[in-house]
Symmetry: C2
């Protein structure tokens, strides 16, 4: 009798699993249909880019984007939207961007260059100095103070084109941009030029954050297009070259740059928060379409799809559009501080910040004390997502949600097909034209599917 009961129960659990999974498969299909047939991401992103492009935190464009997205969130059925106070160090590119190299006859040739974010400008009359090419930060130490002092250091180690993972290639070269100017300044250099972070050969300089050590005197840092980096390097092989730089960028100090929040309260477990986010700020050049307008509208779309399908989450689903990811991470840090001081618990946080390209899956991270259990748990869902071309892996997730790791929930990053990403990243051509509607919509559908499963089943 007991055996029979056991068998019956096993059969019941088995059938229940099957039926439940069938229901989930159906729901995931409905989510994709809604995203692809009635998707709002592309028109939202178009408006965000065209009306509120170049949204550096603290700028008027940022505030415009914050109001625009908050209003959309407020318009969704059952969603409460708000600003979260946040202050960011506002950096202003200024209106001078003169960069020239000397040719063999001493004539000045213009270079396609852009000040790096948070960089200081030059003096009013500019800087003219001889250029020394290096391949990385270690070279500065090897050269020593005497040879670096007074020179313009030119970091010219390319991103590794052979790396299939473009973000790894970026990670392998970006120390030159992030720490190169400070390091060169430490050894007395007058300025630093950095080869743009792309494997493309073109005329677009790629800006991005540079960070100065507190103790070091700050020197101007600029990105050079890859074509011009090649030109400068070639000229240097033939003989000494000087470069003239005149810029007036500067950090202007703290300004309001709120995070934008939209939330649906959970019906059963309102204290278990599932966060979906992107960062609303972008660099001032370009429209911030892939980086990271895409992630913002995709996160908003998750809520829209839920409300449109009449899905009422058990847990609290919160969209957070973070401020100041690009040059300080004030948004992510502020959010985590508020959250911790309010003793909140983020069951999961999913960030989309790899561009609005075809989704390839998700990467997962968590505190080591919970990671294994969570990853085993979510891996059960993979068969339902594989037919959408989605795969799972362990790895990095998103800068803005990183500070939430201590809450011991699951951190998730949307992975995309990023082969085109560094054509646009931090350049003037990161614009709506570079985004494909279906690819953007599929990313939103993938995120919604994942959030649906977490809401329904938890993470362990």
């Amino acid at each position: 009798m007991r055996i029979l009961l056991c068998l019956f129960l096993s059969l019941f659990v088995f059938l229940n699993d099957i039926l439940s999974q069938d229901g989930d498969v159906f729901m995931i299909k409905k989510i994709h249909d809604e995203a692809l047939q009635n998707g709002h991401v592309y028109p939202w992103l178009t408006d965000l880019c065209v009306k509120h492009g170049g949204r550096i935190a603290g700028s008027d464009a940022y505030m415009g984007a914050a109001i625009f997205t908050k209003d959309i969130l407020a318009s969704l059925n059952g969603v409460k939207s708000s600003f979260q106070d946040c202050e960011a160090n506002y950096w202003n590119r200024g209106d001078k961007n003169e960069v020239y190299m000397t040719d063999e006859s001493g004539k000045l040739l213009p270079l396609n260059a852009l000040s790096l974010g948070n960089s200081v400008g030059t003096s009013n009359e500019g800087i003219m100095a001889e250029v020394i090419e290096v391949k990385g930060l270690d070279d500065i130490e090897a050269l020593g103070h005497n040879r670096v002092s007074g020179k313009i250091i030119f970091y010219n180690r390319p991103m590794d084109a052979t790396s299939i993972r473009t973000f790894s290639a970026y990670g392998g070269a970006v120390d030159q941009r992030t720490y190169g100017p400070s390091k060169a300044g430490e050894y007395g250099a007058a300025a630093a030029l950095v080869r743009s972070m792309t494997t493309n050969q073109d005329d677009f300089p790629h800006t991005g954050l540079t960070i100065y050590k507190d103790s070091v005197s700050k020197i101007p840092g600029l990105a050079l297009s890859t074509n011009d980096a090649n030109k400068l390097s070639k000229a240097l092989k033939a003989g000494p070259v000087s470069v003239y730089i005149n810029t007036n960028c500067k950090v202007e100090g703290l300004r309001s740059a709120p995070n934008v929040i939209g939330e649906i309260k959970g019906s059963e477990f309102p204290d278990e928060i599932i966060l979906i986010g992107g960062h609303l700020d972008s660099w001032d050049v370009g429209q911030g379409a892939h980086d990271d307008g895409s992630g913002c509208v995709q996160a908003m779309e998750v809520l829209r799809i839920f409300t449109s399908l009449g899905y009422h989450p058990k847990r609290t689903i919160r969209v957070v559009l973070f401020s100041n990811e690009e040059n300080g991470l004030a948004g992510g840090k502020t959010y985590a501080q508020f959250s911790n001081s309010n003793k909140e618990f983020h069951l999961a946080a999913l960030e989309s910040d790899s561009g609005g390209f075809s989704p390839k899956g998700f990467s997962f991270d968590a505190d080591t004390s919970v990671f294994k259990t969570c990853y085993r748990h979510v891996s059960k869902w993979l068969p339902m997502l594989e037919s959408y071309g989605l795969h799972f892996e362990k790895g990095g997730t998103g800068s803005d949600i990183g500070p939430l790791k201590s809450q011991k929930g699951l951190l998730i990053g949307l992975r995309t097909d990023s082969q085109r990403y560094f054509d646009f990243h931090h350049t003037a051509n990161d614009s709506i034209e570079a985004v494909n509607r279906r690819e953007l919509e599929l990313g939103a559908a993938a995120m919604t599917s994942m959030i649906f499963l977490i809401d329904k089943y938890g993470i362990k």
Copy 2:
């Protein structure tokens, strides 16, 4: 003693497998490095598109492209290149493309339309007739001769935007374009308009092949942009609408349009041919960048990478750039006829005709008598390719290589991330600007890796 010997042999085989696979992994990495660092696909495709765009089989542009690609193949070390005679029915779009609809006041509004490939034109004074909207070919039978006769039939069933597989969505709608005009003609219609094959809402009409039944009188068939299809459909809901069409396209008869061949003879098994191909012809509008200049330069790149890495194939590797895939398949049919009459054996044939997008893997097909064994055999290689984001599946491969199936080798199609494909397919904007260098290069690297493994290990 015998047991010891068995153990020793097993260990030897095991170690040999491991070492061999290590060598293969290394070779596949070298192939990818070469494709990404020294790739020729993008500059080749640029020239092919810019200098020899709109390569409809039988046109001067096609002959220019044939000479251009044959010369490149001939310049590769150890490659013998040639033309293979082929004749294709040359279709000429003509110089008249006037399409207007009447508005409620009877005024004529221009429509974005393009004659379908192989379509007949109108009489010199054009056609003006009332429009009847239908969702598919069955509707024509339901309407019957009396209601269809003298009308312009407007096929307006959209491609299914919810299908993740865009080629399936295309397959689900394209019967309207391929057989719609003939079917309407059978019932006495004056002309047929077909909603463009795309899930995009835009102003680009997508041309493409239409086929007439021999017994039926031919009527003009045209593609309408999706925006204008929506406009026409909306107007029809309000009342009767007439459309005016005046075109002078026509089939002009047989012309020379050779297949282009480049070959490296195999050192051990020269009679086992491994074919790699794409189709060199394209529609006359646009540059034929994704369809299928990409596949052609990728096939050529396989040979270039082999010669560049000093790899000497055991089997004969043959690039074939097929003629007339778009409007008759004369290239594929002619090639198979020559091959069969020369008693050749194609061990494998790989076609790339899904656009120059990020590769997602390969689909495999073969005669049922050999498929299972082959698929089991090649599946062993999957672990070496998965880290490049490549996956295997059973399914369709390529139109041009289809006629080779009877030789009982393995047919293979390169699968790509095709979400953007039907933005460009058969339109004026299928141009080099729509192709990303890295994505194109990765496709060539994937193909070269697959051909390397087949050459080294065979297919069973």
